[in-house]
Symmetry: D2
Subunit: 465 residues, 4 copies
């Protein structure tokens, strides 16, 4: 069977290599790393001079030119179009343009494989710093709200059903705790990522007498990546980072959901200032909690980035593979999205006002203190399961007689258990309920205050790396 | 417990509503929809005039202005900065700027909720068209290669181990079949998406006498979305579309992996032209299959987009929620990534050259025809399991005596089964093996030819919507 | 550097091959396919006999034994422990046990590679049938509720804020539309999957004169998979199926979220019968919507299965790879989870009772009809943007004077626009609002009735494959 | 419009509450937690007695009975069928059955919400222990292989193309480094998870004078979860754990891919013992690396579990929601899958034998030492970019004259640069290449030895929690 002139040939008219270059060019996104790239190059050059691989004078000239290039890029004066392929080549080319063949000494003893790993780790460090700052800020806003609304009660929910009265402050404080773990996860991620990969060269190291420890010290790394193949081929620092971002987004999405609920007409528990919601000129009741909705929506994007980076790395043989160029897309997007969401959330919360008395009246005549009645009996020696069952009967009786628990007489209580005494009557109140809580970490005023004191201290002394 | 001046207050200096607007502005990405948005507005206006909701003259003037705006945006002359919020408002504002209050009639009987759903469906239709065109093109390249290499054998692999000889053409044709299903999935997705949502207004429809069927006909829709709440709140067309893209990427990633293997020194089965690989000026043996690696890497991005859109939609109550603004990010990224990968793949394949005789010699003395020996016995009446076991013994004998099967004598064969005859000797050859295949869809020359004829016809008559 | 006795050697005492067998045995989950496996074998044997590859008598004996084995497995009388490796071998072994060497003829002209693809496609067909039946059932329940509550109005929400009055029936009908697309997606998936892979053998086809078309006809397939390598190596039918399940789950999760909201004390829009919620013996107000919550929670599991199968298939070279054994875990889990959720949802909905008058009073004095006022002006010729702005002012005036729109006088209206007339006063009512809707697919009584009639007809005539 | 008898009513015949119970019952999977559940109850009871909430004698009797129940469950003597709902109720019910109403005191001051969080954290602790043990074991096997094959060179790959010679030991050691980070991630996860949630009760804490710190100490926790709402509603410990498992699987999937490649006929770099591969009785060359393929395939399952748990938690309002019952499915599956894969991997590797001399001859005449030639010139003062370019020309010359670099004369070298000297001739060898490496972490013999010494010490002193 003979084969004819390819049917598709008419379509392939463009100079093909341009197509390939365009498809594979990464400068469109990796230009974001120019500061890291140049900082890394400067440290590298300093080391090359210190180890006499190049002369002191050469080192000085290259460093000077690199600093100029950084400023040129700042000012938008360097060509970073897709033809330049990637940020590393764009910088090196510009360097050679400026100082001639000497520029060709910059790439001594390294390769783009270890260079990009360095850039990413530097960027990650900065991202961790920024996210941690924003987490701390959000924690401070939460703490401020916890203090501000100290004393306000709300129904605590399980299954979105009212369960027991809790302090609103306690609710805010729960999120501080969650965010604290997010903070720690970022620290742990940084700790593992903060090792210098540079000097691994393409994958095998180099025969030149470079000093990796010196570069590590100069750039604030805690040490070097100890195996050159590992240094250029693994990206688990990115996976760990995006996983940490995902958990942050889980937490924000939960609070976002609550804000959407709280500001609905049905809940009417809180309002968000006009400046942070989109009103409608027609329907004044309609103040859309857009910012919260968007945070909730952006959660998917970070989860998607996690899926992307995991899929990318699955099953890649050592060492560097070009697939890994794509690691920056989910990484950068996770940084940006998480940063924006943390940032806006502080602002949303500051502009959120709780209707302090929204639930007060309702909770009084609710059955949220039923659990307290059961615990009252337990304290008198009744086994919990029995106390639970008796209380159930009391509640059923109340419902039948259209009374709330606080409207029952002692006699009515005693009908169900001899263990009831006068003191039962004084505790049928949501405020008493929270005040009676004793256990560590509970919603009692004391325990809530303890948390506030604790976090005030922690947040005051917070140090960022 | 008194609460102090908020600790964080120093940080909140910016005019806050600008922060919120910036966070929630979508024009940065939804400007991609300007053509769809304006086309939808034009059809809408024509309908408003036809139904006398506005006058014919009003209709004419608005349409004219909209067309001008489209050209202005083409030329980069309309302000689409983030302050404009979204593409719908940017266009409407420009319209009012141009023709005064009359421009305020454009938004009659519709809302941004149904408008964006329309824009997305139009964009999806165009994306399906484009992807299907690229799939067809890639299928043509595969067909060309299948014809070109007709007659070349290679080892078929299972578990990455050589299993049986197959025609290389058969391998190419397998991918045409896979891509055909991808093509169909896109058609099915289009079929479901190709319903007009416009006229659902915010969520409830409108009291104005609009004619949705007319707009549907004008814009080439197969009908209207029959429930106004469904029209503005569901996004399963996007999920279905990105899922279809994901399967395309699965297929491309598989072929990409194979190209990476085939071009390794160990396989040495194919080379990719320099124009489509990055060579190394140092190591001539090193011609990196970067394009294939990048396609493989980009697969994760499309999977990530699918995760993102699914997460986004999970658990959203009806009808429109602002979260859904984020649907465009994964949608657009899936379109772009899949398009680029399909496009480059045609080019890579055209520039891939198979070393026709790479495996010939090796396969002759391999044991890939062992299955044929077993089937020979089956044809003589031996139960398959016994035939299988006998052949195993023959192979073991050959290995022990350092012979390949084609070097055995009839006597040796007969030692293992009386059913062997002269004819066994003439079939111990990989070419004979493929030629002896009989079953429909097998790798026999006839069946492979049939596939080639079939696809030639199908691809010639391919019509795109 | 000498190497010592391995440090870990003490740990490797078990007979190693048992470890490997246990790790790789799949019968624990693929035994689920025994009916499909045996049905496939029976059809295969009938074909072997019809094509004289085995004798009629042999065919008869094997078929008879296979049917017995099916019954034995039904009764739990066949050893399917992990040592049996997989369901195919377990059945074949039992067959040989029963009828001796003749049993060894069963596996003629096929391999486990095409056999498992057949089993999966058969299982998928049954799963589609079952899911479609459950979708139809859920649609019927929704239709029943739409009819039952015809006339009940509720606030339609956007951004979880009350937007415009809609019929509750319209809300139910929106879900019927969504589920209809889910139904179609399953049909499309079935259409593509319903091709016979058997006869592809290991990957290359066979030299035996098998008749694949005959088997296809016997088993109700629409044809054969046309390329033997494609037949054994692709799994996009599973991806497509699980993607379709994911969209079903998106829809169910949305309704589940709404049920959770509707049954909260704050919404108090609906109650679920005790039999379908977990009450609390203590707190009578607390009737947890557990079933809805669980459906929402199980959504993640189906999305996870989609991630799993996509990851699994990414980058696998042709043809069969052992990785693919793992395809059954996400497949089966998606089937089970989606089936259970669809099933329970019909039951939940039947047991959900809406408080018909919950919103009536509230909506009267709400501003949900503001959009209608604007449209009133549009009908008098006022450009929409102006009408929108005037209405905004009227609303602001009302709020300031603590009136609702229905409490304004004509004079007050006329103050804002001369276009207002007597008739404005009669339309300031949520019921009138929905009645005035005109557009196709809107929430007007007529349009809602049309949908009900449409779905009644469709669901009555629904045929399943 | 009247509504008729529901169409679907015929289908709803089963006693409905059984359907709901079956759907929502979790004992099928949470019974896996019985040991943790009972251990937690015993510690709880000891605390109740110590704080005089119950008497010492009561405490003694309950504890004794609980221990008996643990043994009964061990022996399969307790009914754990789905009607029992969950493991907590099953145990409590059995307790009351055994010791009467006193059993009802067990649940004092706690709820199932904090109880399940406790069980999960205990299970997580055990899982971390087990996975860390298996990681350490796998590291030991890798170390053993690194020592065993010390001196063997192989081509190091980038883009799956041969790049530079490296020691096989170096390759093994790279994986030890990766796994070490996995080990640390698990430790960090444990550190955060190792806080006692018990005592948070339903969500608000309790009014009973329980001592949470005492329970924490008894059970080896590092403290208590400080906020009761956080304690019962967050699951980020599960997300973090499954993310850590995902990274382990990324690493294993990469090595699995390499084993598949190494054992292919084309690479022929290693063989896996028959006991750990499935041979074929027909094709002796075909020894399928099934175990490695399965590990690679199972990777998707763990990624899927991560998607599942993230989706599950997204947007859930505080505190406990029933959705969270589903958290155990992805958690348990991630534990099991990761454990099995780590376990089998040690066994696979032990049974993997490298063909030490496979590459020796080939590498000699390859161009893998080209980079060394460039570095030679750099050491003589030539800027790297020029050295790189000169070497490129030398290689081109060699290729043209069908020579390998080691076959060139000094004169030929000098033709390209005056800097070449006699010593160049002695370094054109892959062994010399690795020996000449100087940089820390490189593949030089010294650096590889250092790594071996380092890991020998670390693994010897490894302590597990």
């Amino acid at each position: 069977m003979p084969h004819a002139k390819p049917l598709w040939s008419g379509r392939f008219k463009e100079p093909l290599s341009a197509i390939a270059l365009k498809f594979s060019s990464s400068i469109d996104f990796d230009k974001k790393l120019y500061q890291e790239d140049i900082a890394g190059s400067i440290a590298h050059v300093e080391m090359l001079a210190a180890t006499k691989i190049i002369s002191a004078e050469e080192g000085r000239r290259i460093r000077k030119a690199l600093k100029e290039i950084a400023r040129e890029i700042d000012g938008g004066h360097v060509d970073l179009s897709w033809e330049k392929e990637d940020i590393h080549l764009a910088v090196e080319q510009r360097l050679i343009q400026k100082i001639g063949p000497l520029g060709g000494k910059l790439h001594t003893g390294r390769s783009r494989n270890d260079q990009i790993a360095l850039d990413e780790r530097l960027y990650l460090r900065a991202a961790v710093h920024e996210l941690q700052k924003l987490i701390a800020q959000l924690q401070r806003v939460l703490l401020y709200q916890a203090e501000k609304y100290f004393g306000t009660i709300m129904p605590g929910y399980t299954h979105m059903q009212r369960a027991q009265p809790v302090y609103l402050s306690h609710h805010f404080l729960a999120y501080i705790s969650m965010l604290e773990r997010d903070f720690e996860r970022l620290s742990d991620c940084r700790k593992r990522a903060n090792k210098l990969p540079l000097g691994a060269a393409a994958l095998a190291g180099t025969s030149l007498p470079i000093d990796r420890q010196m570069v590590a010290r100069k750039m604030g790394f805690d040490g070097i990546v100890e195996n050159s193949m590992d240094a250029v081929s693994d990206r688990d620092y990115l996976i760990e980072f995006i996983a940490a971002c995902s958990t942050i987004m889980v937490h924000l999405s939960r609070f976002a959901e609550e804000l959407v609920l709280w500001t609905s007409q049905e809940f009417s528990f809180a309002t968000i200032d006009d400046a942070y919601s989109t009103g409608s000129s027609i329907m004044p009741q309609k103040k859309n909690p857009d910012m919260a909705e968007l945070v909730r929506g952006k959660t998917g994007r970070v989860f998607g980035s996690l899926t992307a980076i995991l899929t990318l790395m699955k099953g890649l043989p050592l060492a560097y593979n070009r697939d890994m160029q794509e690691d920056k897309i989910p990484f950068f997007d996770a940084v940006t999205t998480t940063r924006e969401c943390l940032f806006i959330f502080s602002h949303i919360l500051v502009h959120t006002h709780v209707n302090r008395n929204r639930f007060e009246e309702e909770l009084k005549h609710d059955f949220l203190i039923a659990t307290d009645v059961a615990e009252y009996l337990v304290q008198k020696g009744v086994p919990f399961r029995e106390a639970h069952s008796m209380t159930g009967k009391i509640v059923a009786y109340s419902v039948e007689h259209k009374k709330s628990l606080d409207q029952l007489t002692l006699k009515e209580f005693k009908h169900y258990s001899k263990y009831f005494d006068d003191d039962i009557l004084s505790m049928l109140d949501p405020y008493t309920s929270v005040e009676r809580k004793k256990s560590a970490g509970s919603t009692s005023p004391n325990e809530v205050k303890k948390q506030i004191v604790h976090w005030t201290r922690v947040l005051k002394n917070r140090k960022l790396q």
